[in-house]
Symmetry: C2
Subunit: 383 residues, 2 copies
């Protein structure tokens, strides 16, 4: 059950506090930001997940409760305690997440009223809205899969949309499933899926101190608890991955100021890490992003971004496509109509594919273009 209310953390009066709650006990896995500065809620949530039995999430937007010192940690524990009291469960069963402005104290009066209101309206929806900041829309995904003769549901919601970059735990993402999953299995699943999906999104190269993804499994489907060795485990893992990928793509598409989703595929790399590093370098390049915004198929900038990725490869072995249009072939410009290449940048989704001659590994990453609106949003975020 979930719910979200407006309690005044955000000044605009939109929903800004949400609760997510499972009546059944859960196995819960988590991944966290790799930023050296970590928001206060992350330590509190890590402690709870490690203790086992997390079955609820209290989350707010508008304030990240990060860089708030010892007071921030006290506030995060207080927020956890308020949610536990309102739901009638133990404090250690509640994960805490905050996203928004950094360096300001949480308005605890608003949070307290918000938690009570959200608890009384559980089931009324609005959690997906309550976690948004500069996002322009909610992000939800769902998948069904047959596991041990039972139909299992995997659902998820996430928020973007700035301070988003690969090599992180992730932004905020909350995945739930009614499958029964053993503890080691659920954590490994979430870690691997995060590497393949959320960690392959870049909006602006900034890794937030509030990033966190949770996967909660309450077993309501009645299947035998899944382990890594279960026959149907690969199906379940694929379902989690597909939900996370859809959320990851939605985060990229709704990047701050974005007008289009950019998907970069690198094939023929020596290893998956190389492929991902090359693709992330391209999708993170301001010059590539601005060219996509301007519908200019400036393929030289893609090569340049691959060149400074830190990955060693033979430039003479590179082929490059914008959509279906081949623009570069084995170290030489490929004959093509510039106008035709530019046309591939006109839609809602752009795909850039690079093929190397190093090996068999590939990776896909997602990002967005760089627009005037990104600058406007981030030049005036706090004011």
């Amino acid at each position: 059950m979930a719910g979200g209310v407006a309690c005044g953390v955000r000044k605009s009066g939109v929903r800004d506090l949400g609760l997510l709650y499972s009546e059944l006990p859960c196995e819960t896995a988590a991944v966290f930001t790799r930023n050296a500065f970590e928001g206060a809620p992350l330590g509190v949530t890590r402690e709870a997940v490690e203790a086992g039995g997390v079955r609820a999430v209290v989350a707010n937007s508008g304030n990240a409760n990060a860089a708030t010192g010892a007071q921030g940690i006290r506030d995060a524990y207080a927020m956890q305690g308020l949610a536990a009291e309102a739901l009638g469960i133990e404090a250690e069963q509640v994960a805490v997440a905050s996203t928004g402005v950094i360096g300001e104290r949480l308005p605890m009066g608003n949070v307290s009223a918000g938690v009570r209101a959200a608890a009384s309206e559980l089931g009324g929806g609005g959690f997906e809205e309550a976690i948004l900041t500069t996002d322009t829309r909610v992000k939800e995904a769902v998948a069904w899969v047959e596991v041990g003769g039972r139909t299992v549901t995997v659902g998820g919601t996430a928020k973007g949309s700035g301070m988003i970059h690969p090599n992180m735990g992730t932004m905020l993402a909350f995945l739930t499933t009614d499958a029964a999953v053993e503890r080691e299995c659920i954590q490994k699943t979430l870690s691997r899926v995060t590497d393949l999906t959320f960690n392959r999104v870049s909006v602006d190269g900034d890794t937030s101190p509030s990033d966190m993804a949770l996967l909660m499994a309450n077993g309501a489907a009645g299947n035998e608890p899944l382990t890594l060795d279960s026959e149907d485990y690969p199906l379940f893992a694929k379902a989690v991955e597909s939900v996370a990928r859809e959320l990851a793509r939605e985060i990229a598409r709704d990047g701050e100021g974005a007008t289009r989703l950019v998907e970069v595929v690198v094939e023929g790399a020596a290893g998956e890490e190389d492929a991902a590093a090359l693709a992330k370098s391209v999708v993170g390049s301001n010059l590539v992003k601005a060219a996509v915004f301007g519908e200019d198929a400036n393929w030289g900038r893609v090569l340049v971004a691959m060149g400074y990725s830190g990955v060693a490869f033979d430039p003479e072995g590179v082929d490059l496509w914008f959509g279906p249009v081949k623009v570069f072939s084995r170290g030489e410009p490929a004959e093509h109509e510039e106008a035709e290449a530019n046309t591939t940048l006109g839609g809602d989704e752009v795909r850039i594919t690079a093929s190397l001659s190093e090996g068999e590994a590939s990776a896909t990453v997602w990002g967005c273009d760089l627009s005037y609106e990104y600058v406007r949003i981030n030049g005036s975020y706090r004011t």
Copy 2:
């Protein structure tokens, strides 16, 4: 002697081809981009510098002659030969540099006419202009220093202003001196100075495949040739560093779309590399850059950028200032007036200082803000 002319590589009719020439033989040092994709002129110039005796530079803007395959290499050699013929010297005495659009063939007819015209107008100036692309002004610096009883001049010119990021050879920079300097000494000087100056500039996180810096010394001052052990060598090295630093600051100030220069100082780091990595992470953050543009002293974004720099440090030991206003102290927000902190972002130059508790090392880096104009320039560069 130097000169620059308009020969039609750039469509706008501005100066786009320049020659720099020393009538005396020179010792010349060079550093080059670390991008895996390298423009065709770099290989030609590297070969010439290694052979010794480079005493001229031919440079064009408007076309980088990069990602142009085997034809591009033939064109770079042809450009070198044309300049040598016009100046009456050997081809291997000419360094070649090109900057501008990537992936298009150099218009050799224009280049040929331009080289002849520039050679006939040597001494008429205009070289500094001819190497500019999206730069809004020429960049020049000069220093004088007493070496072995002789007054020595160190001069330089450079171009920015996009695809500029630390960890490179550098953008285009040409430094000249009438000092006599031995070969090993001049290369070590340029490499060290580049690390301290050009490699500490970031406009947009993109490392160009055309980056190159040259230091040419023709000995006209009549001093005993300088070695690393010369008594006055430190003075000379400081003079080269001060010229390079001034050019580096001018490149940052004139970054694409920039409205202000941003200087980031990190002190108290465990080592100089750590200090530089932390400072570069801050100066390269789109979110910090957009906040500076919007005159919003959003110090949380500075902490976040330090946090994902990859450098290990204790967040509780961090102090942070915007100009003279302390905003963060030992892991806690510092009492300050937000309006006062914002005021420090209003001028032409912004200084952000972070102090750690790890050691004694420090580093200063330069960048600029992120404006609507950056997006406009790079969304329509080729069209």
